[in-house]
């Protein structure tokens, strides 16, 4: 037996590449354990509760309104992003601050790969915390019975924004290894987000829609409260924003791989390509936002739009009765069914038996005219037999109202009766002819709203096209008083005979009995 034959069999060593994922995972695990981000999360959680959740509870319990402040205006991003940027800058500056750059550059793994592991750990902590905190907030909303579906696409925008903040902050720290890098990144991020929100107030369309805290779009545009109730949240704008923020994140990470100590030539070349790709992605997203158009259901970006998202959400309405007439609402508005039936009952009772009286009442999705003439009247008549259609998404519902002075149940009932009478006489989006105004006033008087209170009610009702506050005097109110003083049978007989002419605008106040 020779020595060669006696030598132990040498097994082929595993390929080095197969060890890379394992060691990368180990490095990531170490970075996750040694990351600073968890230490700042209790402060962010407290701030999120105080600044994002607490003010939102003052809004109506519909997702479009309840999440207007924290998702539409991106308050969760403003509360989260600056802290994430600051901590990421701290992590990014770690090796340079401690004077270890030369030491870690000499290790087997390229410097840039080790930096990416540190950033990934920071981003994982931040994004996971964002998703958990927002998830808890939405769970509380669900427990409170908030109507509709949550704006999940905007949650995705927030998570991407947190990632972008972490990448930008990390790049600042990597290039400026100083203790002051963290506050500079944090305050810079806050400044950017606050300016973004304020640009949104003055730029409701065009490129500015790409800014993640611009509330214009599905929250403050045409769709408003009915997104997630009658039709899905359109993902077009969120997708463009995700592209923009991803582009920023990729470019920032690419920049950290450009210095000579980051790695070999190929690696730095890849970093340069990544930087350019990120910048191109962000630029493309800005260009796409510039092509955005406002539709009845939110912001549409033609290149990104999927027609399948235009399909309305199917639902089983909840119904009640007012003066014997069925009143049906979207289940998201279930809590207001008693208020609406109580509000409509007196006016439905006034017109009961008349030829134009509604056979049923139903809620429809709010729609804005494309001509930009302002919102239409929330209550309209249509069909045969006549159906009363209510666009409740255009109204402030009774109860909490965010930053507005929300109507009380009595004020809401008055608004509904006024809008009903206005629609019944055929005044449409205009104040109506004097005869129509007179009949409207008489119907309201019959429904329990005195003449003297009617000018104030018209002034209170948002977007109502009637006259402003003033005394209930003049020929219109004189005619209304004459009509209201008639016995109910005589008044109904006159209305039955003249309703078509009244709606056509052919009558004058002197024609009223």
């Amino acid at each position: 037996m020779t020595a060669a034959a006696a030598a132990p069999v040498r097994h082929r060593t595993p390929r080095a590449t197969s060890a890379v994922p394992l060691s990368a995972a180990r490095l990531l695990r170490v970075e996750l354990r040694r990351n600073t981000m968890p230490w700042i999360l209790p402060l962010i959680a407290a701030l999120l509760w105080f600044d994002s959740y607490r003010p939102s509870t003052g809004a109506s319990p519909l997702y479009g309104l309840r999440t207007f402040w924290n998702m539409g205006e991106g308050r969760t991003i403003i509360d989260f992003g600056p802290f994430v940027a600051g901590v990421a800058a701290w992590m990014g500056s770690r090796d340079g601050r401690r004077g270890l750059t030369d030491l870690v550059t000499a290790t087997a793994r390229p410097r840039w790969a080790a930096q990416l592991a540190t950033w990934a750990a920071t981003a994982i902590w931040a994004v996971a915390a964002y998703l958990v905190f927002v998830g808890v907030m939405f769970a509380v909303y669900a427990q409170q019975g908030v109507g509709g579906t949550p704006p999940w696409w905007y949650v995705a925008v927030g998570a991407t924004a947190v990632t972008a903040f972490s990448a930008a902050g990390f790049a600042i720290g990597a290039y400026w290894p100083s203790r002051f890098a963290a506050p500079v990144a944090a305050f810079g991020g806050f400044l950017a987000m606050f300016l973004s929100a304020h640009i949104g107030f003055s730029h409701p369309s065009g490129w500015a829609l790409i800014l993640p805290t611009n509330s214009s779009g599905s929250f403050d545009g045409s769709a408003q409260a009915d997104s997630g109730i009658f039709y899905p949240w359109l993902p077009d704008l969120p997708i463009a924003r995700i592209m923009f923020l991803t582009g920023i994140a990729v470019a920032a990470l690419g920049v950290t791989g450009l210095p000579a100590r980051a790695g070999g030539r190929w690696l730095r070349g890849a970093a340069a390509v990544l930087t350019l790709a990120g910048a191109a992605l962000a630029g493309t997203a800005v260009g796409l936002a510039g092509t955005a158009q406002e539709s009845a259901h939110g912001v549409v970006i033609p290149t990104l739009h999927d027609a399948a998202n235009d399909a309305p959400i199917t639902y089983t309405p909840v119904c009640g009765r007012a003066a014997g007439v069925p009143v049906c609402l979207n289940p998201a508005y279930r809590r207001w069914l008693p208020d609406i039936t109580a509000a409509l009952a007196p006016v439905l009772d006034e017109v009961a038996g008349l030829p134009g009286a509604p056979a049923r009442t139903t809620q429809v999705a709010a729609a804005y005219p494309s001509g930009g003439n302002g919102p239409p009247q929330p209550i309209t008549f249509g069909g045969q037999p006549p159906v009363l259609r209510m666009q409740l998404g255009l109204l402030n519902m009774p109860g909490p109202c965010g930053f507005c002075l929300g109507p009380t149940t009595e004020q809401f009932a008055g608004e509904m009766r006024l809008l009903f009478a206005h629609a019944f006489v055929g005044a449409g989006d205009s104040p109506g002819s004097p005869a129509q105004q007179a009949v409207q006033a008489a119907l309201l008087q019959g429904a329990g709203i005195p003449f003297a209170a009617q000018p104030g009610l018209m002034a209170f009702t948002e977007n109502f096209p009637g006259p402003g506050p003033g005394a209930a005097t003049g020929p219109v109110y004189a005619a209304a008083r004459r009509l209201a003083s008639l016995p109910a049978e005589a008044r109904n007989a006159w209305l039955t005979a003249h309703l078509a002419a009244l709606r056509a605008g052919r009558l004058t106040p002197t024609d009223l009995p």
Partner: protein, 229 residues
């Protein structure tokens, strides 16, 4: 020889270390090293830059359209930034090695915090000389002083490296309170300049910050991954 003997000067040794001049030189050296290790020169440069930024914002009327939150936004952000810079200077990368230098550490901490707060106010007041700062110099003194106190308090709680988190959080709370027209004196920037309640709260926070940073110092984490690492 016992350990107790180490505290006594050796018989016949020259009492040179006890001379006043040497003590003064040693004290000056200690203070200088303390300030340099806390990156105070860089902090002074940043504070001067923030003063210049405030001057530029007021001189060229940088403004954001909107309500009271928008009008106060730029000055408040600059003041909070200055408070954050002061808080971050409390951080020592190797802990507080000056402990070995005797009982002077609390005085070093207090002197550095007071001096930097004074310099920062001077820089901001010089910046505000361009005119038009909402509430005038009195409001600047109150708002900035209170926020400096918050920065020092957060350095005590979170560590010097993360002292900026306190002024940042307070800025967010203030901005939200201005938007919602909240007027608690604890959010003093929302109150008028001559409001006594707001001034008292700001003074209390500044005093608490100075006392705690002097007595306790910034938090030092025992773990490497702690917030002060």
């Amino acid at each position: 020889m016992t350990a107790a003997d180490l505290h006594r000067p050796a018989p016949g040794s020259v009492p040179a270390a006890g001379t006043r001049r040497v003590r003064a030189v040693a004290g000056w050296r200690l203070a200088r090293l303390y300030l340099v290790s806390r990156r105070v020169p860089m902090a002074l440069a940043l504070l001067a830059g923030l003063g210049g930024l405030l001057w530029a914002a007021l001189h060229w009327h940088w403004n954001i359209a909107g309500g009271p939150a928008a009008r106060l936004f730029i000055p408040l952000t600059i003041q909070a930034g200055a408070a954050a810079v002061i808080a971050v200077t409390t951080y020592g990368p190797f802990g507080e090695s000056e402990r070995a230098a005797g009982r002077w550490l609390p005085w070093l901490r207090l002197s550095a915090a007071v001096a930097l707060t004074g310099v920062a106010f001077g820089a901001l007041a010089a910046g505000a000389a361009a005119g038009g700062i909402p509430g005038g110099t009195l409001a600047l003194l109150r708002n900035f002083g209170g926020m400096a106190g918050i920065g020092l308090l957060s350095a005590v709680v979170l560590g010097g490296a993360f002292g900026w988190a306190g002024p940042m959080a307070y800025l967010l709370i203030t901005e939200g309170a201005l938007a919602h027209r909240s007027a608690t004196p604890w959010v003093w920037p929302t109150r008028p300049p001559h409001d006594r309640g707001g001034a008292i709260c700001a003074c209390l926070v500044l005093a608490a910050g100075l006392v705690l940073i002097a007595v306790r110092g910034p938090r030092e984490s025992g773990r490497e991954s702690g917030p002060a690492s």
